[in-house]
Symmetry: C2
Subunit: 234 residues, 2 copies
């Protein structure tokens, strides 16, 4: 008699395939496991996930909609490049979103929001303590995303999360030179921000967020400049 297929659980639930591919690809892009410019092959992904090209394609369409991959019609599709030429537009948007989301958090947050925010801040502090640059990047983004969520404006959180994702990619590119002493200041600034949010001091929240954002932008620019000098940039 012939072998009966005894492979463990080859079946997936019906709608889960696309989400699985989407989430995993998204993580791999943001973590630079797939660096900018990497080619994305549909059939390769199809056999990797043991499914048809159709759900793969749907995941790719969604990623393209968020600007994480670029699709050349009838030709290849690849991980989106980071636009170093128009970096200032990114910084402008980032600073503004830092400010407005923090202000709104000071206005609209609920008690349970503060718990979540403080939890992320604890993780960030731990990452700084451990000098784990990668963890710093991730927990810092999660911290500010939580603040934005407390502001409860889906338009702002949408754009802000997108900006944080893009920033995560940029920082991963250069995190080698990220292990100096400065981040300790960020921990303290985070604590200050939590305090003004809890106090519902909108004006002060705006001021602190602005300073903090400009600190971070300055830090990133320093990183980029240094990397530039070391011929690490494209």
């Amino acid at each position: 008699m012939t072998d009966i297929d005894t492979s463990p659980i080859p079946e997936r639930k019906r709608g889960s395939g696309v989400k699985m591919v989407y989430d995993l690809l998204r993580d791999e892009i943001l973590d630079l496991v797939l660096p900018p410019g990497s080619p994305i092959d549909e059939v390769q992904l199809a056999e990797r996930f043991k499914m048809s090209r159709t759900p793969i394609r749907e995941a790719l369409v969604r990623l393209a909609g968020e600007g994480l991959i670029d699709t050349l019609p009838n030709r290849s599709t690849m991980v989106a490049n980071i636009d170093f030429l128009n970096m200032h537009t990114f910084f402008d948007a980032l600073v503004l979103m830092y400010r407005v989301t923090t202000k709104l958090a000071a206005q609209y947050h609920r008690p349970e929001d503060l718990k979540v925010i403080r939890a992320h801040q604890a993780e960030f502090a731990a990452a700084v303590q451990a000098q784990d640059a990668l963890a710093m990047i991730a927990t810092n983004a999660a911290f500010h995303s939580a603040i934005a969520e407390a502001g409860r404006n889906p338009y702002f959180t949408g754009l802000f999360n997108r900006l944080l994702d893009e920033g995560r990619r940029m920082l991963r590119l250069y995190y080698q030179s990220y292990d100096d002493r400065l981040p300790q200041r960020f921990v303290e600034e985070h604590d200050d921000m939590i305090a003004v949010i809890a106090k519902r001091d909108v004006e002060e929240a705006d001021r602190l967020a602005r300073l903090h954002a400009e600190q971070i932008v300055h830090q990133i620019q320093k990183l980029l400049a240094r990397a530039d000098r070391l011929d690490m940039a494209l």
Copy 2:
């Protein structure tokens, strides 16, 4: 003998199908030809456009990514509803984007941008003159979108265009009561905005944009309130 299919050009170019469906559905949604809550049937669209369900599906995925349609897993998909409960988040975002895009336009516009902006303004003035409410809505959105483009920040223009689309839907819902005299003020305000942009007066651009935005928000709120009284709202 049976008829032979003599339809002119049943063939489409290879990649054009999805874009065609996407554009048309998008227009129909924004123009409320498909009002919020309308069911979207894939097979129906497939035979309407004489193509397979696959490209239809891709268009729908993209529309869902922009929040224009809602997809219930394994069940139906329908045109997204307008969220009247959290309207203030929409207004907050709209006002801020009016301000920031106008400011950036004052900073970064080029001479040819002004031509485009003025052309849109002329169309808007004509629509007001003709008391064509639908045309007012469309040309007003195009005018501000052109200003945002002159600011050259893709993150801001992306969010702003999305907000303008959503506003277009809202206004279409209530444009019956839109034919009063007030819009003439908007024409003059637009002219003032063009002037400060051309003068590259960033501070004044911010001030004017803010006033203008608040005017528009006020106008919309008045419209909604009146419609509410007339039992037009859901």
